[in-house]
Amino acid sequence: MSNHEAVHAPVGGRLMTRPFTILLAFAVVGAIAAAYRFANGIGSVSNLSNGYPWGVWIAIDVVVGTAIGCGGYAVGLLVYILNKGQYHPLVRPAVLTSLLGYGLAVLAVVIDLGRFWGLWKVPIFVWRWSHSPQLEVALCVAAYTMVLVIEMSPALFEKLRAGAASGTRRFAENALRVLEKNFFWILALGLLLPTMHQSSLGTMMLLPGPKVHPLWFTPWLPLLFVVNCIIIGFAVVTLEATFSAAAFGRPRETRMLASLLHVAAWVAIGWAAFRVVVVALSGKLGFLASGYGVAFLAEVGLLVVAGAILLSPERRSRPACQVRAAMIMLLGGILHRVNTYLIAFRPGAHFSYFPAVPELLITFGIIATEVAIYIAVVKTLPILQGPPAKHTA
């Protein structure tokens, strides 16, 4: 990766801008709500119940959060496996988004776990390991978060190398050399682990099978989830590249995004077609005539609409259309996950769930923290593609 370092540069500029302060305020409010939860139990801040033991913390912060963190995975597959080097400038910011998505998902898990203090036993007590799909998710997410830290570390070492002290400079140079030598297997891990745990996130909802609506209960759920996270990844990379370019005055990557979105469009349409075919072949089309049918059609339809927009070469080369289609695609992708984990989960007629205000404040706090750290990091470390040539003197 470091042979491409010339293209990356820190954005610089003042950190404590007004939007940044607002993000910090949300983070602080979320932290206060989380502190209250640790003192008084999960029930004190949330509407989670014995019928709905998992709510927005798991469905949004973890299940959707890690999928949003799959930008690095989706672009990594293109660049390193399909050898599409032209997308390389997208990799580093995508990996940063991934690291933040996964790092904060881990934080959300700690808030959600009732007995979080025993979490350290999960990777250590190998002799107690079960064949639970959730164990696979837990171990893989932890490992992948570490891999993302390693994948991100060249940005830090490049910054150190540019520093003054000769000792740190030598250390940074050595570290970069070691990373360069070992990158192919670190990258391979970085592609293997998401394949494993994103599919397992689908497997996880097979265990509550009898409580999951038949439209979502299919043994193909693992495959649907792993391709779904690639779709979400493409959408997130598009939005992140576009908004970064706008916010930080960086060169737009419109042409690169156009061809990326062309791939994404076919993946999305393929996913939607497969989803419908699986439901049809298992004879479940009758379930479409219900509220659940609307939720199903929404998650499939949004992807088809996004794909249809992007199939036109004229439309997908316009930034406004790219953003619109990516947002629709993101929404459709997210909806499949929220549907599977919350909407399609039916514990019984006398249970209901809607998130409580402090519960949502914790989720908002986590999202705000994610965006705030992203801004802080791209301003100080070489993540984004360098400024247009006219500014470099």
Binding site: N50, F116, G118, K121, F184
Partner: protein, 316 residues
């Protein structure tokens, strides 16, 4: 563009390689059976008079706090509406027109328990001798995946506590522990008679405790003695959801009593078939193989790039 279509096909192939073969071996998974000495209970809803003595006895035997009920008057009521963190056993009433039936709800001690399949460190575990699904908080991280997975909504969690536990009926295994005698045949029995508190106090013998095979025989005897009396002339739990160690007889349909309609397949079988198919059938072959392929492709691509660079033909 042909290139993009190929990319798409490849992306799907690479991304789903581990998961793709998963749905196929579903039929190959074996069906667990109850251990020979499996303990259980038989609840005959036609005998229950709804006195709820069992609810009180269960609370005493398991050190559970009174439940203030919907009024929240802690000093006056013990009125749980449903199973909860203070209530491991409850009596409910189904009523429609002239038909009514009581319903006793507690852990079913599934032959193939989904909660134990969900548990990462075997904090919930099925005893190999008694078949009791017991809870050991030492390894519990409070993830509540067991609650998600239980098809009977039995597993409960102390949402109101900072240091919470999972709460569920453990078939009074703490009461029978000291009275347990391991027979020469290797099975544990309870000659002292200290069984489940709910069975001990039931004035009508509506719920009785014993070995699962004996209880099943008894239930079938009752059905044979009065054909047509019981719903579908069958015992709930013989095969439902892979079988349970708590068995039910009822005059009204089991679904009316809140028992889910489950096939003969164990509830965790679909998830297990996928998970075992990917990871354990040939241990870790899929992830290791996929890793080797990924690393190989990345290495090859990088070499090709370097060679191209050395020839001075960097096209990008």
């Amino acid at each position: 563009m042909a290139l993009d279509r190929r990319s798409f096909i490849k992306s799907v192939a690479v991304g789903g390689v581990a998961a793709a073969g998963a749905a196929l071996p579903a039929a190959a998974s074996e069906r667990p059976v109850a251990p020979e000495g499996a303990l259980g209970m038989l609840y005959d809803a036609t005998l229950c008079i709804g006195c709820k003595t069992c609810v009180v006895a269960c609370k005493q035997a398991n050190d559970r706090q009174p439940d203030p009920g919907p009024w929240g008057e802690e000093h006056l009521y013990d009125a749980p509406l449903d199973l909860n963190e203070n209530t491991k056993n409850i009596i409910k009433l189904y009523r429609e027109g002239d038909t009514y039936s009581y319903m006793k709800q507690q852990c079913m001690h599934c032959v193939d328990p989904a909660c134990a399949a969900a548990c990462m460190l075997h904090s919930l575990q099925k005893d190999p001798v008694t078949g009791i699904v017991g809870y050991d908080p030492q390894y519990c991280v409070g993830c509540r995946y067991c609650q998600m997975s239980c098809p009977y909504n039995v597993t409960k969690f102390e949402f109101s506590k900072a240091l919470p536990l999972i709460v569920k009926c453990e078939l009074c295994r703490h009461r029978v522990k000291d009275a347990a005698v391991k027979g020469p045949d290797g099975f544990t029995r309870y000659p002292g008679g200290q069984g489940q508190a709910c069975c001990e106090v039931c004035p009508r013998g509506a719920v009785i405790s014993g070995r699962r095979d004996e209880l099943l025989a008894e239930a079938k005897r009752r059905i044979a003695a009065a054909p047509g009396k019981y719903f579908e002339d069958r015992v709930f739990g013989e095969t439902d959801g892979g079988g349970t160690q708590v068995l039910y007889l009822s005059r009204v349909p089991f679904e009316d009593l809140g028992l889910p309609k489950l096939g003969p397949e164990g509830v965790p079988r679909t998830a297990y078939a996928v998970q075992e198919g990917i990871y354990y059938k040939i241990p870790f072959a899929a992830p290791i193989g996929l890793f080797a392929v990924l690393a190989g492709v990345i290495y090859r691509n990088k070499r090709a790039e370097q060679v191209a660079g050395a020839e001075g033909g960097a096209k990008r």
